[in-house]
Each structure stands twice: as C-alpha cells, then as structure tokens.
C-alpha cells in the first residue's frame, strides 16, 4: 500500500512532541437570568490553555500511561496526536507524519478508542461494522480474515458478531470497539479511558488484551485513564499532566519516589491489645489486631524495623508495601492545585 508512508523524519521514535501548545476559547456567562441577558450583549471569553508546552518522546513498543486530573489536557493530547485537532504551536511527529497535515495517510496506521464513545454503527450487527471498517481501511481480504479471526479469539467475540451494536452491554461494546480499532493492524494505538464504566471482569479482559497486544505484536500504546489499577497492571512508564503541563515522566517507581519514600508495614498481632511503638515508624491505622505503620526505608531498613517490632510482641503475619498509587497521584494532583 503506497499511501502508508509519510516522508519519514529520519527518527527511530514513534512519537516526538516538542513544546506543543493548544488553547481554547470558552464563552462564559454569569449565572441566572440577568447573566444570560448580559451575555447576549457582551461575551466574556476566557482562554484555556489545554496544552501549555508539552514535550515527550515515545519509542516503538512502549506502553505509556498518560494520567492527570479531569481537564488536565489528556484528551486534547490524544486528539492532537490522532490528527483530529490542530495545535497552536509546537512540533508533533508520529510515525514520521505530522498528524493533522498528513491526516489520511497517517490515521491508516493508527487505532483510536475513545472509551466514552463508540465508533461502531449502532444499528448494524458487529460483523457488518467490522466489514465496513475493512472497506474503510482498505484491508486486503486475506489480511482481514486473519486479523479478524485473531481478534475474535483474543477478545472472545464469537457470540457477539451477529448482535446489533445497540444491544451490546458496555463491556461487550468495549471489546468490540477494541477489535474495531485494531482490524487494520495499526502500529500505534491510542486508548482514551478504555475501562471507564466497566465492571471488574471486563476491566481485566481489556487489560489482558492490551498487554498481549503490546507484548506479542509490539504495538505502541498510549493509555489515558483514571483507574490506577490500569496503570499499575500495564504501564512501565507514566506521564503525569496537569493544567496542560507535564509534571512527571518516568517509571511508576520513580513517580512514587518523587512524591514520597514512604513504605507501609502491615502487621497482624497475636494479641489485639498489645502495645506497639517504634521511634522510626508512625502508626497510621489500628483495627483490632491489624496495625498499619508508615516508615521511611532510608532511615530504617525494613528488616531492622521488623526485627525490632517482632521483639516487642508476637506477630502472626506481616507484609511491607508501597502506598497505593491512588494516594500518590492524589497527593501530586493536590500539590498542583495549590
């Protein structure tokens, strides 16, 4: 297929974004009837910097989590990278193309899922929707048959193919939407909140699929989500964005270290009433025999702390863990809100 390649930018990276900016104008009006009347005469327009100088690069085969509070600019980034929106300034190259300029040849190589929306035709059966996408992406018949069989197996769609899209449950629909986004075997996949509103089983199915896709086919994935379990389960790298700026970019562990070095020690005591205290650990929670302590591994090694505490009283069980990622992220969001 000749239209597949843009003039390559001579880079080995899948995505290069440099100092990307995009602002929106939001018409505001004061609340109430009077505000509405005033708004007719004079519009107050506020400029929102959805993207305020974003830079990052992605190597082929990476699986990156893109997180941030509502309105941080996650979806805007995805929309710019998928060729839907034109940024105000900055450089953006993906697969050697400028997404909005080379839109048609570029989008033939990417897949996009917006979790809140479906790209399937609501009054057509799933199989017909897939056939339609085959024609839209001009997928050759044999490649289509292979790709479809593979996706049907991986996402367990066999029973859904004849069902009209409007009758699918949310979890089923999301699986079908994933198949729809991948039927043309894209190299780059954008997932914008793919697990939103899904039950636990469906979430696991989606995660499993994304992981396989990334490992087995080497598809580069950008995943935006509010579900930190998605991030923990899938992403080796996390980009955190807030108010249109990147706050941190690195592994989940380095993100954790950046916010806090804290570790948690959870103990189940033999005697629920036993006294427990240590100068290097802070008691954060106590529920009958279960005690949760917080400590800094730089000040006291976990082994030493455990040794001291087990000397104080009899312990039935214990484990050390990181603070939950939700808490870390909440702290980071809170820090930026100031």
């Amino acid at each position: 297929m000749s239209y597949l390649l843009c003039e390559a930018g001579g880079t080995a990276l899948d995505i290069v974004v440099e100092n990307l900016k995009k602002s929106f104008h939001v018409a505001e009006r004061e609340p109430g009837t009077w505000g509405a009347v005033k708004g007719l005469v004079r519009r107050r327009v506020r400029v929102v910097n959805a993207l305020d100088g974003i830079s990052f690069a992605l190597a082929p085969g990476e699986l990156v989590g893109y997180i941030g509070p509502n309105g941080a600019g996650k979806s805007t980034t995805v929309k710019v990278l998928s060729g839907i929106l034109v940024p105000d300034s900055g450089r953006c190259e993906a697969l050697g193309c400028v997404p909005w300029r080379d839109r048609i040849s570029y989008v033939a190589q990417i897949g996009v899922v917006f979790g809140q929306r479906t790209q399937l035709w609501w009054d057509l059966p799933v199989a017909e929707s897939l056939d339609l996408l085959r024609d839209i992406y001009r997928v050759p018949a044999d490649a289509y048959a292979r790709s479809r069989a593979e996706l049907v197996e991986m996402l367990q769609l066999a029973g859904l193919l004849t069902v009209p899209v409007r009758q699918l449950s949310l979890g089923q629909r999301m699986r079908c939407d994933l198949a729809a986004a991948l039927i043309h075997a894209p190299r780059l996949l954008f997932l914008d909140e793919p697990t939103i509103g899904l039950d636990a089983v469906s979430k696991l199915a989606v995660r499993d699929f994304v992981r396989r896709l990334n490992r087995e086919r080497g598809v580069t994935v950008i995943l935006t989500t509010h579900d930190m379990d998605d991030i923990e389960a899938l992403c080796s790298r996390v980009i955190l964005i807030s108010d249109g700026k990147i706050l941190s970019d690195g592994s989940l562990d380095s993100l954790r270290r950046e916010v806090t070095r804290e570790r948690r020690l959870t103990l189940d005591l033999e005697d629920p009433e036993a006294e427990i205290s240590d100068p290097d650990a802070e008691l954060i929670e106590r529920d009958h025999g279960r005690v949760r302590l917080s400590f800094d591994p730089e000040r006291v090694s976990p082994a030493e702390l455990i040794g001291r505490i087990t000397a104080q009283c009899a312990v039935r069980d214990l484990f050390v863990e990181n603070p939950p990622i939700e808490e870390i992220v909440a702290r980071l969001y809170g820090r930026t809100a100031k």
Binding site: K79, I84, V86, V107, R117, W121, D135, Y137, R138
Partner: protein, 263 residues
C-alpha cells in the same frame, strides 16, 4: 469495495430497516396529499384568470411532491447532528477517508433509501386511484429520471453544507431546522413556482432550490419545451457542483479550528 460506496450501502441497508416509519410516512403523505388537492381544486374553481398550470397537471404535480417528499430536505441527517453534539465526530476524523465524501455518501443514502420505500407505492396508488397522470412521452420520462437523479445529488450537497455549518455552532439546531422550511417554500413543494408572483419567480429561477422539486416535476408534466431540458438539468448540476465546493471549503476551514465537545 470502495469505502464510500460501502458506507453508502451500509447506511442504505440500515435505513431500509425502518418499515414502520415508511408506512407511517406513506399514510401522512397520503392524508396531506388529499388535503392539498382539495385546497387547490377550491382555488381553481374560484379563480377568474386562466391559471398557468391546468388542474389535471396541478393534481399530478401535487402527488409528485407527496411521493418524493423524502427527496426534499425534510430533515438534515440526525445521525450526523447527534455525532456533532456528543463528539463522536472525532471517530470520523481518525479514519483514512475524506470527511466530505463520507458525509456526501451518507447524505445520499439518507435521501434515496426512504424515497425508494415511499415513492414507489405512493406513485402507484396515485396513478391508479388519485389522478396522477403518466409523463406524456418516453422522452419526458427519461428527462424526469435525469432530473430526479440530479435532485438527489443537489439535496445531498445542500444537506452537507448545512451539516458542515454545524461545526460553527454548539448545538447546531438553527440552520438544520431553518433549511427544510426554506426548501419547502422556495423549491416549489408548497406552491408550484409558476403560481407565485413574477418577481419572486425571477429570483427563485436563479436559486438552487427549484432543482429539488420544480425542475424534475415540470419535466415530468412535459410542460417545458424540449429545448429547455438540457438547460434545466445544467441548472441543477451547476448548483450541485457549487454546493459541493462550498461544503468542501467549509469543512476544510472548520476542521482546522475544530473543538471536539466533551472529554
């Protein structure tokens, strides 16, 4: 299959599912048809001047407008409108297709499918029972077929212009509600154009709207001289091309400054 043909076919098939809507549409069109025939008959009885269209021609004209009601811009594709409102339009842009061609092919399907469902039975009933006359000759029938085909293209092109204008507004109801009324009056569906005052006729003769009703139905009646037929078809085609270019331009401009609603 060509992606645009494929989209057209899918939309067409989906629209053919709505049998109940077709039956209801048929009933409504029949009812209004009776009403309009009665009104015009009453006018014709009380007029003193010789009318520009004979009564039998008038009755045929009215049944044609009823039969081909779905061909006129009676609504602007609600699917695309909903897509604009809730932001699903973003998906249209991540497909390797020309957005204008996608919308034109779905707009064509949205006109042709319901017309096929409704016009055929309506024409049959009107011909057998209600005084619809057949075109006076084979040439007339051929010209009518060409005129109807051009009318489909013209309406679809106009429909995409309206849709493209929705990019500039938040809810996108304004023009989408207004345009059907404009078409209804200016195309000659409500009152045949020859019955309108002379000054209005000279304006409407130039505007695109007559290509949707006035031209194809008068070709059917055979009241236009044969030498004018190519001119009338050219009128339809020229406007179709102009509206296609306008629609393309509008889409090109608006996709550059697009705001997709919702997160």
């Amino acid at each position: 299959m060509n992606p645009y043909v494929s989209l057209f076919a899918a939309r067409f098939r989906a629209l053919l599912q709505y049998r109940l809507a077709a039956v209801a549409g048929f009933g409504t069109q029949l009812f209004w048809g009776f009403l309009r025939v009665m009104i015009f008959t009453a006018f014709y009885r009380s007029t003193t001047k010789p009318p520009p269209i004979s009564l039998p021609d008038m009755v045929s004209y009215l049944w044609l407008t009823q039969a081909f009601f779905a061909l006129s811009l009676n609504y602007v594709d609600p699917d695309v409108r909903a897509m604009m409102r809730n932001g699903t339009v973003a998906y249209e842009m991540v497909r390797p297709l020309d957005l204008y061609s996608v919308w034109l092919s779905t707009a064509l399907a949205a006109r042709i499918a319901p017309t096929v469902l409704r016009a055929v039975p309506m024409l049959l009933v009107a011909w057998l029972l209600l005084g619809l006359r057949l075109p006076p000759g084979a040439g007339c029938a051929l010209a009518t077929a060409a005129g109807i085909a051009c009318a489909f293209l013209l309406t679809a092109a106009l429909s995409v212009v309206v849709t493209a204008s929705l990019f500039h507004t938040v809810s996108g109801e304004g023009l989408a509600r207004f345009m059907p009324v404009v078409v209804y009056i200016f195309s000659g569906i409500l009152v045949p154009l020859p019955l309108l005052p002379g000054w209005m006729q000279s304006i409407l003769d130039v505007l695109p709207f007559r290509g949707i009703a006035d031209i194809p139905y008068r070709l059917y009646l055979g009241t236009v001289p044969a030498s004018d037929v190519p001119l009338l078809l050219a009128h339809q085609l020229a406007w179709t091309i102009a509206l296609v270019l306008l629609g393309k331009l509008m889409l090109r401009r608006s996709t550059r400054r697009l705001v997709v609603q919702g997160g």
